[in-house]
Amino acid sequence: MSDGAVSDGLVLHLDGFEGPLDLLLELARGQKLDLGKISIVALVDQYLAVIEGARKIKLELAADWLVMAAWLAWLKSRLLLPTGSEAAEEGEAAADVLAARLRDLQAMRAASHWLGGQSQLGQDVFARGAPEDLVDTDRSRLALDLTGLLRAYLTALRRGGSRQSYRPKPLTIWTVKDALGRLGRLLGSLPDWSSLQDFLPDSVGTQTERRAALASTLLAGLELARDGGLRLRQEQAFGPILLRRELPPALPQEVANDV
């Protein structure tokens, strides 16, 4: 992208440019005029000439080069209109934008150049090659937080739980079997009629458990009655259920009242 290449025009190698804007900037500088008084129209002509020349050499030309060419052609048509018309003002505004973009790029080129001229660390100046680390790290303390503890606990429980076979919660219900045992033990010591309630376990807590125990004890009583081990009796509906050990068969007169 030397000046020579640009002035030759037709033998320009576009590959050397970083895009249409780069070429435009180079052309603008090639005018060797005060950049402030550069003619946008002349610039457009030059660009279009270069692109035309390049197309003669290689037909494939990147789209952005052609898009820029089309846009510049449009811009030129606007700039050539008599001043004052709406289209002409549109063109001037567009020329302003182009000029601003070129100025920006030019400024960045200059900035890049300025940076490149600085004494670069590791290139032109060197810092200490073996800096001394005067920092001691004390790792004796522990970093602990409650969230971590809880997370760890849940992880442990989940893992532990997943490896265990399912064990149902032990029943606290007073079963028929329990009632049978208790009835068997207590019945002998009660010679007369006793209420079913008397055979409930002492430790049963909630009301539900108490009712369940009552049902179990009744079932156990019926079971024993069927086997002839005891007798049950209820005077009226929902009245207390009484039970008694089966007496020797010498006294059968109460059978009629048996449940």
Partner: protein
């Protein structure tokens, strides 16, 4: 060699020793300095120049190097605390001990569903986070473990009752194994006095 030339050699040697990542040897200096310059004389002059200053030239394996003056180094030293994290296994074990204390090692293993290494328990003991709390009166009389006051301090807890209740943690109530005896269903399990 003129005095100003020698001064220039000093500048070069000083810069190279400064910029080198490793000690600068005589061979490197010879390569850099003008022909015929006495390397030892250059070093001696530099040593003089830095005498009594904050930095000095020392002879180390393979050459010369700048070092902070020994009397100053301790004053520049800064201690940065970088707290360690507990390994995951230790954290889990600690959590189980905290929530199930007093608890035996086999019980911890059953809850975690994994074996507990002595190293893990040792690390918790060493950090003074757990301590033995007597023995369980079962065959083998295994040691019971509980947390320490240091545990509370580390987690910023006033007491063990300040641990979030297990019920708040376990919405989906994963199956917690019921120990042989009725489990302490409500939590916290008999906060051990610390």
């Amino acid at each position: 060699m003129s005095e100003s030339d020698f001064g220039e050699q000093l500048r070069l040697a000083e810069a190279l020793i400064f910029a080198s990542a490793t000690p600068t040897g005589a061979r490197q200096l010879t390569q850099l300095l003008a022909d015929g310059v006495d390397v030892e004389a250059v070093i001696a002059a530099l040593r003089d120049r830095y005498a009594g200053r904050g930095i000095e030239i020392v002879t180390v394996a393979g050459g010369w190097q700048f070092r902070t003056a020994p009397d100053i180094a301790p004053r520049l030293r800064r201690v940065i605390q970088v707290p360690r994290r507990l390994p995951r296994v230790a954290m889990e074990t600690l959590a189980i001990i905290a929530y199930h204390q007093p608890v035996t090692r086999p019980e911890i293993e059953e809850i975690r569903g994994a074996a507990l290494s002595q190293t893990t328990l040792d690390s918790l003991l060493e950090a003074d986070l757990v301590a033995p709390k007597g023995r369980k009166e079962t065959p083998g009389r295994p040691t019971l473990w509980g947390t320490t006051p240091q545990f509370l301090a580390q987690f910023g807890l006033p007491d063990l009752r300040s641990l979030p209740p297990r019920g708040d943690l376990l919405v989906d109530a994963p199956p917690i194994h019921p120990p042989a005896e009725p489990p302490p269903d409500e939590f916290p399990p008999s906060p051990v006095s610390c």
